[in-house]
Symmetry: D3
Subunit: 241 residues, 6 copies
């Protein structure tokens, strides 16, 4: 089976890291391909960044459909464009936040999330609430570093992540911690080892979920809101009023 | 004060209708300008259509900021890109669904919404729930016509809207009805007259709300999630992995 | 248009302050009239105070109906008697808590409220929850001063308000702060200036909303729960059993 | 122990019926006294009626405190003034809606409510939601008769109640039905007998709960929102501004 | 009337303490019998302990039905097997958590719970949420002692309970505190006396509620989910596949 | 990897059917073993049946731990004993309701569930609500047949399932349907084929999810509520008081 992992931002080094994380956890028979669109923001740090990244991401999915991709993973923790992507794809589309919280609520009664910037906290809170697990999420914490600083200053990043994961366990009462940024996926194992807390990376969680959904023969329902976009009938004038 | 009303789809005739509705309700001193972007879908009928419309809509807001626009109305009932728009604008940004349900919950204890296509029903339900008024929304009904058919087949559209509004009152127990598409705004008065039910058009509701917010000196908070998008620091490689 | 702003308590000096706040923000063509009933509690600090203030407040609305008032603002942050008032009025009735949280959720993703006494905290929490925005309200804080002390000890009041607003921003992660008492309305601008946090006064918020609702032609729905009170049919014996 | 059952409306015949229902279910050692205030609406059919009834009801409680009343039952299904009453009373104050839904959720997983007028439906829905059992309430039905018609046209009332109770069981899937008006309490046993559905009258439910609370030594907490109303300090000018 | 109070664990000394608490608060005419099953865990500290205790508890209820028991109290704060017990019993079955929070929400607007071990905190949070009063529960605190240590080290237990109750009042803003373990019932009065906070023991609360339900003639509804367990028809092969 | 699929009831023929469904969807390298305990109810139709099945099910898990089982699937749609099982197991434990709704919410915005008996409807509704997806579940329907009749009268069962699935699509607006009983798993493919609606069987969904969780290296968190049951310290007297 072929799974396309899309990093919606345009930072190729982050895509490479995501690719490595995805391949590491995939079954041997799974073909992982990680891509990113051109021209989208270098990192997704807010709603506007999300909005600018989605159309190019949808193009990659349309292209994937032509190439026989079986499932898609959107590798940004805001799950940008998830519903839109589901309208375009035949197979399942999984967001890494969605997948991570599904794992978290399966292995723990309460979890916390650690993300990058404070401005992403309400976005993630709302997402988790929309997924129906707000009552099981103790806290959304931020290390207060931009996404790209995870790469440019990895030592500080790891130190702050350890600190926040320990605070999640000791102060929040979290039984597991979800990493709130695709750019953290390569640190997952080390963080779990250093803290003793189960740490969940959304990229891996989503790849495993995608494999299961494809293996189980599941496809996106096309009889309702996730139906393919309607082709608009007839000529339409497109001028500014 | 200058209010920019943005129809995110590219159908100029709908923009013109929205423009008329906005001007009709505005205070004499308010300057209304209604625009639509080029190249976006001819109508917004699902998440993918939304996603494709938002970047061009954000461009219009960026342009509006340079031109001294005081407030923005997003004239599509899915409120696409609302949060992203707020990151870019200094002044308030109002979605027509948001505005309509604020009016509805001020003048009635229970309301229903009538939209175009059944596929939009879950989108609107989720939106209303996110605005915190799901418990006051009795039902989201659909006339089962595409958005552009409101213009191309106005007689059927009006007949079905009357039927659904009456059903909302008689079956749902709705005390007011919200029109779930910007393309219905010109019918609002007639529908209220024909049914005797208070009918709320989001375009008008949003314009009045925008005037009040500007008049009251309110601006989008820039100390959190609605802060201006971060400018990414340093060079970023943008190649597909 | 004529807007009647009712301070439900009987403290005329507070009414005068509210009147000034309302006039300051109103459009030039709006006629503001601020009144308070006689014989109600000197301040509203709990459910019993609310209950005692409402009947006289409703009398003022009945009187307003006869005088052609277009909309009403209830200038107490508990929004006492709001639903009852809507049954009596033809035009819109706006509560200052309702209006303030509508503004807050339009310009910020998360807000906190600062009120007077700790005993009002659960009342306001429940109100905000009933308005459906509990998930966006980070905290309800109290300066621990009676309502009338805002006037009698303004220096302490302002100092404590500044402290709580800064705590709302720094500890709660609030992006805007709502003033949880009509008696704080004259401090709004100063508090915003001193803290750099967007501060929302419900009196102004409600006046602007009222202007918009009247300007938009909205009236309270009379086909359901907000219908005029039923006139009881026939003679009724009124003796203690 | 002495329990004061207050019918907030001024219809003495209804008070007498409530008195009988309360006495019928009380333990032999319980002293039941049912009263109604003078000058309040003849029936409570909406928020305005509630508001007008509460101050006189609070007076009866203040008087009861002086007379050594141990607990109070508010015998109107809207539970008007419940929180205010708790501020004034030392002992427990129980609303009949509160008591009825507590019984309903103890003996059944799902219940429906049958009330008088459609306009009361949203009021009761909101109340049940505020009590946290909205998810267990299948439906709030109305027989579409004014409160006083329960007495003036008892045959129609009973026939309609039977019909709605059976619909609650057969259509709603209700396992128990709550009578949504104090004026229905004398029909409770007959309705249960005729339909085979467990039927719960709030007056009886509240009396039994009150006995238990007094017997268990429980009193209203005075260290927070239910503390006695604050006595306002100093002279307060009470003039219309 | 006969009330059977079942301590689901197998620690007879705790059953004796529960028995004393139940008798102390019961009306003179109530016959209290406290029992525990054999062979169940010595204390209930988690879901597995609950699961192991329930079948033997249900046997005691089946036996009680044969003996004419009128109502049952499940004296473990997790309310284990409550729904199952209701299927088996004709009369009402009350959980001590259910009863305690019903009392708490009647006498206070906000309460906290103090339990034994931190691992029980999410269990109790979920239970309180399922009862619909999560929004009124400020906090679930743990003294971090095993259940049986309440008996073996009563001095430490009491000291820690006092500390947590005071923290509930001062930090959480709780107006009442619920004791989150049946084994604490004998401390209730002392804790209330020492802290000045209304303290609620679930055993007493449940006994008083049970008396009221039996006195009011209420029985578990048998027309839905609480109907008696279905007797399986026909022979069933019971072999491991 | 080894996955133990536990049918908590004692009907071996149902276990065989579940075994076949599980093997059909599993990856080639996965070892599926389906078992059922002895002496539990022949079918799980209510809370009491659940309670009686769980201890023996936990024994099978304890035994599985000794045998090196990697993950467990609880193959009863009520997810009985799920939390208890997680305390005992090192690896992940998945309930079929949990898994099915996770798949449903990934491939559809709204779904319905079709179960066997009406008495199970509230149980499933509460479960779905606890999983946080109540707002996405349109309806829980029942074919009104006992669990074992699925085997003894398969023609009626299939006909009724088709009817309810079509009603879910046409009346509820469901975009996918979840089968609400493990005993329906063999019909899944046929039902999907006959109705054209995506139909989800929880057994398959859970097996695929289990494979992913094991493959991803996830284990149940042992630092909180899912920690191994505490071994009670010291001798405990176990006599009926």
């Amino acid at each position: 089976m072929k799974i396309l992992v899309i990093n919606p931002n345009s930072t190729a080094s982050m895509t490479a890291q995501i690719d490595a994380s995805a391949r590491r956890c995939a079954f041997a028979t799974t073909q992982i391909e990680a891509v990113n669109p051109y021209g989208t923001p270098a990192s997704i740090e807010g709603h506007a960044d999300e909005a600018l990244a989605v159309p190019a991401m949808l193009d990659l999915i349309r292209d994937g459909e032509a190439r026989g991709i079986d499932a898609y993973v959107i590798a940004c923790f805001d799950d940008p464009g998830l519903a839109a992507a589901r309208e375009i794809a035949r197979g399942p589309v999984i967001g890494i936040c969605q997948a991570a919280v599904q794992v978290a609520t399966t292995i723990a009664t309460r979890f916390s999330i650690v993300t990058t910037l404070p401005r992403s906290v309400p976005i993630i809170e709302d997402l988790v609430e929309a997924y129906g697990v707000g009552h099981r999420c103790r806290n959304v914490r931020a290390v207060d570093m931009p996404v790209l600083a995870l790469e440019s200053d990895p030592i500080t990043a790891e130190a702050r992540l350890v600190r926040e994961i320990e605070a999640a366990r000791d102060i929040d009462g979290a039984e597991a911690v979800v990493l709130g940024c695709a750019g953290m996926s390569d640190l997952c194992e080390r963080l779990q080892f250093r803290t003793g807390v189960p740490v969940i990376d959304g990229v891996s969680a989503a790849v495993k979920l995608a494999e299961g959904l494809v293996g189980g023969g599941y496809a996106t329902s096309k009889i309702g809101a996730y139906d393919y976009p309607r082709v608009k009938s007839g000529p339409v004038l497109a001028e500014t009023a």
